[in-house]
Symmetry: C3
Subunit: 345 residues, 3 copies
Amino acid sequence: MWIRNCWYVIAWEHEIPAEGMFTRRVLDEPILVYRTAGGGLVAMLDRCCHRQAPLSRGRREGDCVRCGYHGLKFDAAGICVEAPGLASIPVKTRVPTYPVVSHNRWVFVWMGDPALADPALLPDNFSCDHPDWSYKPGYVHYDTPYLLVCDNLLDFSHLSYVHESTLGGSTAIAQAIPRIEAIPRGIRVTRHVPDVAPSPFWKSFQSFDRNVDRYFVYDFVLPGTLLMQSGGAPVGQAEGDLRGGVQLHSCQTLTPETETTTHYFFQQSHRSSIDDPAVTEAIYRGLVTAFEEDREMITAQHRNIDPEEPMLLLAMDQALVRYRRLLQQAVDQERDPRATARAAA
Amino acid sequence: MWIRNCWYVIAWEHEIPAEGMFTRRVLDEPILVYRTAGGGLVAMLDRCCHRQAPLSRGRREGDCVRCGYHGLKFDAAGICVEAPGLASIPVKTRVPTYPVVSHNRWVFVWMGDPALADPALLPDNFSCDHPDWSYKPGYVHYDTPYLLVCDNLLDFSHLSYVHESTLGGSTAIAQAIPRIEAIPRGIRVTRHVPDVAPSPFWKSFQSFDRNVDRYFVYDFVLPGTLLMQSGGAPVGQAEGDLRGGVQLHSCQTLTPETETTTHYFFQQSHRSSIDDPAVTEAIYRGLVTAFEEDREMITAQHRNIDPEEPMLLLAMDQALVRYRRLLQQAVDQERDPRATARAAA
Amino acid sequence: MWIRNCWYVIAWEHEIPAEGMFTRRVLDEPILVYRTAGGGLVAMLDRCCHRQAPLSRGRREGDCVRCGYHGLKFDAAGICVEAPGLASIPVKTRVPTYPVVSHNRWVFVWMGDPALADPALLPDNFSCDHPDWSYKPGYVHYDTPYLLVCDNLLDFSHLSYVHESTLGGSTAIAQAIPRIEAIPRGIRVTRHVPDVAPSPFWKSFQSFDRNVDRYFVYDFVLPGTLLMQSGGAPVGQAEGDLRGGVQLHSCQTLTPETETTTHYFFQQSHRSSIDDPAVTEAIYRGLVTAFEEDREMITAQHRNIDPEEPMLLLAMDQALVRYRRLLQQAVDQERDPRATARAAA
């Protein structure tokens, strides 16, 4: 279950080479991405319209791509401009392209109707490209449907258990009741955890001499993007006084590769010791370790699910239930815009 | 095709740790087994009722299990006794448990209606725990349906060919005509093989100076358990005179893991040189070698079967045909007890 | 999609041992091939009629095969001649055999009605066994349907791209328009490529001081066999003057292993330096390298095909479209000979 009329991250910007070609599957479509000489990005179905060979097995020729099987050459608009042995090229000889845009180091493709591609729908992943913030980019591949990872991100009570010795460090996180709010195309989750030990993760890059008040405030928006402010300060410190505290911003996004596999792009930025690469590295390492904990749990969960047995919904599932409902509405809307409008009226 | 109202072996007793957890799939259900402080056994569906994560990825807390995903804690009856972040725990928050019993070193779970769980239905695997008998426990995993292994065990003519250089040693075994009898919930097979060379298997732990009269007498009972007396004595010796002979008791049982994979628990006990671990080891090694011969043949058979082509039933298939019919009746009975009763009336 | 009433190559003759057994799957049937003491070939379903175990896991006994599971023994006609433990052998106890013939080093099996097996339908693979020609035999396994490889062989425009640095060497091959003709049970393709650089492949076994006129003339016949004369001579040389030129004959054939996997037997023979094993070896190596290029492309194509998306047919697809139509007619004819005859009338 996924929507099409939205921007999906296909790559970190640095993954697309200056020359050559990059290919990755999104919503079960193989997509070829490359840069033109003028610096523009091209995203094209990685499937020749002739015999369906992957164009990525061919070669770049200027701003064009030549199929490596029978030599058809396509320009950046997907139009065939050369067909060896053909007197004339049928007009149907073209490969679909996708709207593609780079925004704060993430490369997005629009998988739905190109006429609807709207830059205003790009997420506010500002800390991916901001002079005051520092991070190291991350990627992990899941052999599970993306919605199980969405579920995970929509209920941070798992921090106390999955991430007991990394991001969590206290059962108080699971016990704290989050506030859930509707926002445009998503859900906002706010969780305060007062007077707890700093997490093992924090202690990997900073020293603490007492307990902290922790907070997590994140938006989770379609099609599967988490934008989070989190951190905390020593207990008893005046509000706004960040000395000795932690202030992080994290951008994470899920892109379905297929019905059952997922791309996960993530970072967590800091601004405290922005010139200290050791801090950036420690935060990245901590995240990689913790996200591997998630991946193991979610993969085990995925293999263990009995599709004929419903899950038991509990209080901590409020955000994920609301998000799944919102996604379902968006899917229904795409399938039949008019019927959905009538139902709403 | 399997029945549910019966005891299946899930493990050798020594496989269940004193602390910690053990997990194995039976009839395509993941099952968690552990011991309470009081020494009791617990068998529980290894699937949290909340998000279906395997409980075995969590941890023991006293006689309880805590899920490693969101921290739900279940007692030995499968009832949720703690749910972090919940004001009250819905009564539905529970995980199914299974009747479980240890009987002569085999740990059995009852996969059907718990109200019907009847210890009288446990098999008489006495030599698994008897001071006069000695053995080393065995286990092998099959990537085939369990019924193909049942078939194998119900026709010992294969000893002459599959086990020519191990358990067999003579084509006379295949040529001997077994007696087949009905017994409660099973079939009894009796086969006498007079005046043959001792098998290579026997010669691995004992010396012989002439031919022997061999016998195999076994019960094969639901849901897939073989209980066998086998052995032999030098030709010409008076009946009952066991000098220079061999006397073995074997307990073997098959538990479907999934529709297409199988657990096989086995042992072969001797009482002749009970204090000589070399004999016990030689018998165990001989069995492991021979059962690997079976596994290779049955796996090759399984891959080779054309499901649209019927098997040709021959005289040696009498026992397996009768056992499959008996199993089919038991399956039908479980599906619709009343219709089966009417049909019988 | 395949026909049955035809000869399929199951092996190179040297693959069938003088004693012992050879087994390979053809049209998704496991087939056992062995030689009798008299030098004859036997092809038999590699599946015992009793419990469907592979006969190839048993053993040869004279011109017979004994099943390794329960000891049934079958003669070269597939008739059971011994069944341990049986008073009499039911007449149904037999295994199907196939017409089998060795013809110019290829071993063929007839997969359809044995009464229709006609040696006149064997292909003219003469250079596989001719004193004037020399080659080294090749085999490659494909994880793709055989028709994708047929397609490849029916459009040599791919030589310019897939084999740019091996068999091709010039885009002129793709630009040359081939002549396509109907022949009995197949298609003849003739392609002349005047005044081009010799291919890198040719240069691996011969020297050239100028451009060449190249030609490819091949028959592609049911069920998937290519028989090709190819070569060329220095530009400007009188027709028929082969000095400094290349003259090759190639026999290649595809045999479906399953719906999605394929056996590919191939050779390319030369007669120029027949006593020089280095030339034979260089031609073989060149072919192996080039056929690996094909295999990688076709495997990538196969994985990339969207079954709901039609392929776009272009001018270079004329031969493969005609061959697929011819195959479809042959398949329809086999399924319902009378209806096909009526439709034609």
